[in-house]
């Protein structure tokens, strides 16, 4: 199993736009990536409802985990996304 711990970089935490971008990216990965906060049960990063109800704030340490083919790449891609401040990056709509 591949595991990586990363600090949430987005100002709004894993909510609103950052949550949406994370879920969209998770769906594109070859392996299912789960996310753990502290000792709470792991959640599926492809589930917007699970991500939102996890209520993860900026600065929180989260652990990503996946297994099987493509696990390494999938965890790396999502870790990179979570570490960035997505609230500050361009919004194509306005």
């Amino acid at each position: 199993m591949v595991e990586r711990t990363v600090v949430v970089g987005s100002t709004s935490g894993l909510h609103a736009r950052p949550a949406k971008l994370l879920v969209n990216a998770a769906k594109e990965q070859p392996a299912a990536v789960r996310l753990r906060v502290g000792d709470r049960p792991a959640i599926d990063t492809r589930s917007i409802l699970a991500v939102l109800t996890a209520r993860v704030k900026q600065g929180t340490e989260v652990t990503l985990e996946a297994e099987g083919d493509g696990a390494e790449a999938a965890v790396a891609a999502l870790a990179d996304l979570i570490a960035r401040n997505l609230d500050e990056e361009g919004d194509e709509d306005e």
Partner: protein, 599 residues
């Protein structure tokens, strides 16, 4: 608008929570009976009436009149009783198909839209195809539950989880319920609930509108909107005003009007006259649409400056949040919000960047007056770069001018940029601070602004303390501008974000009018202007009341200007003062409205 990707779902609160405004609704009777009671009367311009007409009363939230046939929004029918499942695999694929269709439909509708409406629908589609939800549905079907009940229970379980999250998450619960109703309709082969499309113009009647509904609304077909729930600051109200569609919320009994019944809707007085003659077929319906087009597209320059019938000037300004709100020919901008520059920023924009943005907006009003408001962050509009700590009760926390206590350099940079842009611009720039409570705050802000060379310095009156001490504030300031939405919420201790208290947030509340009168009187005594830039200014009848209270300018969305201009042109200042006197003396908003519409 990135912070509102999943936003806009504050509507659709459960029926059990919806509170009917006391004394405003439920007055259903024949026009004659109602006329005798003296509470509600048929709206002016409501069209020919037959003996069978009756009148419903609600809160008018978007001005204008329209006549047309009612089409009710399909409300979800009750679930059929649970049935035993013989073929679990077939049941499971039926449920999966319903959810897939729902997600595909939302995604397809999102494709046709842009901006915030698109983001809302994309977010809804993402929720519809959520694997957590899907797994739960499958688990319930495997345990022997039929598809409609499995869907209902799974969506409701997620809605409950969101509600437990409170605040922002709790607002998403209504989205889940809306999706639930659509998925259940799909699996039962019933028509999908939503905005009807009868193929002709109609008056839309609904219990309430969800964001997914409003995003799908066709303004060419919807003549007017009447809802049973919602309040003056609800999603429905804001959307309708933006589109220039007459609208009434909190109209009890509206969903009892049969489809096809012709009604006359008066979004100014808040009355729906049921059973009027049809709009002389193709004659009046296009007329209503033309009127609406006129309201939204009229060249403001053709109207000329605002004034009463006897020539007393009342400046009519625009509320501006970005360049897209600018209309040519306006008398000026009465509220130029600056938050757009700061949204989603980690650091404050530089003075040079601010200078350029302000200058572009100032130059959109050559020769006119532009009242620019310094950054108004906090409560309902958190800004990441201010890094304000979480607050239990942000509406009463560090917001508006108070953020300068923590980050004074942000205010100074902004004032410097406003001053340099004002210097370069060909318009008269006034600057004001939001959420001023005390004369000391006013004095401090005025000193800062004047140190940067700004000559016209004022403050928003949004806190009752500021209205009560308006005269003391004006010892330091050149003008005041009343924000009626916030002043209303703080006067009535009723959260603007809470859809259950529309009666308390009604801008016709006599207590709110008293505070406006205090501020206006202080301005008159000091010989300084006092304007109103809240939603109240956009209600033509209330605009006349405000002028009667002594308000010297009104600022509103461009779509509201023609109706307010027309209303003021039809009344003398003395009539406005009589209206104001009556409204202040009224027992409640319903009586205030009734008295005002009698004159």
């Amino acid at each position: 608008m990135s912070e509102r990707v999943l936003g806009g779902g504050a509507l659709g609160e459960s029926a059990a929570l919806a509170v009917a405004p006391a004394g405003q609704v439920g007055e259903v009777g024949t026009a004659d009976e109602v006329g005798q009671v003296g509470e509600v009367r048929a709206a002016p311009g409501a069209g020919p009436q037959t003996a069978a007409t009756s009148v419903l009363s609600g809160v008018g939230v978007s001005a204008g009149t329209a006549i047309g046939p009612v089409v009710r929004m399909t409300s979800p029918e009750p679930l059929p009783p649970p049935r035993p499942v013989a073929d679990a695999a077939a049941e499971r694929s039926a449920a999966e198909r319903a959810v897939a269709e729902l997600a595909a439909d939302l995604a397809a509708r999102a494709e046709r839209l842009s901006g915030e409406a698109k983001e809302i629908l994309e977010a809804l589609a993402m929720i519809a195809e959520d694997p957590t939800l899907g797994d739960d549905v499958r688990r319930r079907v495997a345990a022997g539950t039929d598809a409609p009940h499995a869907l209902t229970e799974a969506f409701d379980a997620q809605a409950d989880l969101l509600r437990e999250g409170g605040g922002y998450l709790a607002e998403r619960a209504a989205d889940l319920e809306d999706l639930r109703d659509r998925a259940v309709a799909a699996v039962l082969g019933r028509p999908i609930p939503g905005i009807p499309d009868p193929g002709h113009p109609f008056v839309l009647v609904a219990a309430d509108l969800a964001p997914a509904d409003t995003a799908n609304l066709n303004p060419d077909q919807v003549l007017a909107i009447v809802t049973e729930r919602g309040g003056p600051t609800s999603h429905t109200a804001i959307l309708a005003r933006g589109l220039g569609i007459p609208a009434i919320v909190a109209a009890a009994g509206a969903t009892g009007i049969a489809d096809g019944t012709n009604v006359a809707v008066d979004g100014t007085s808040g009355t729906v006259t049921v059973g009027v003659e049809p709009a002389a077929n193709s004659a009046d319906v296009p007329h209503a649409r033309a009127t609406r087009a006129a309201r939204t597209q009229v060249d403001l320059a053709d109207l000329g400056p605002g004034h009463t019938k006897d020539g007393h000037p009342v400046s009519l300004y625009l509320n501006i949040g970005s360049m897209k709100d600018v209309r040519t020919g306006a008398q000026g901008a009465g509220l130029l919000r600056t938050e757009f520059l700061f949204l989603g920023r980690k650091d404050s924009p530089s003075r040079a960047e601010q200078h350029a943005a302000y200058l572009e907006l100032f130059n959109a009003f050559p020769g006119a007056r532009v009242v620019i408001r310094t950054l108004d962050a906090g409560a309902d509009k958190p800004l990441p770069f201010l890094a304000l700590p979480d607050e239990e009760n942000p509406a009463l926390g560090v917001r508006g001018l108070r953020t300068a206590r923590l980050r004074p350099e942000v205010l100074d940079d902004q004032l410097a940029a406003i001053a340099s842009a004002a210097e370069a611009a060909a318009c008269e720039v006034w600057v004001m601070a939001p959420m001023v409570a005390t004369p000391a705050e006013a004095a401090d802000f005025a000193a800062r602004a004047r140190a940067h060379g700004l000559q016209h310095v004022g403050a928003m009156v949004e806190i009752p303390a500021a209205a009560l001490r308006a005269a003391r504030l004006l010892e330091h300031l050149d003008f005041l501008s009343i924000g009626t939405n916030d002043l209303g919420q703080y006067t009535m201790a009723a959260d603007r974000q809470d859809g259950r208290l529309p009666d308390l947030l009604d801008p016709w509340q006599p207590a709110l009018l008293e505070l406006i009168a205090l501020a206006a009187e202080a301005g008159r005594a000091a010989g300084k202007p006092v304007g109103v830039c809240g939603e109240a200014a956009a209600d033509p009848r209330l605009a006349a009341v405000l002028v009667g209270l002594g308000v010297t300018s009104l600022s509103m969305a461009a779509a509201a200007v023609p109706a307010v201009h027309a209303e003021l042109s039809a009344r003398t200042l003395r009539e406005c003062r009589e209206l104001a006197e009556q409204a202040r003396d009224a027992l409640d908003p319903a009586q205030a409205r009734a008295l005002a519409s009698r004159s």
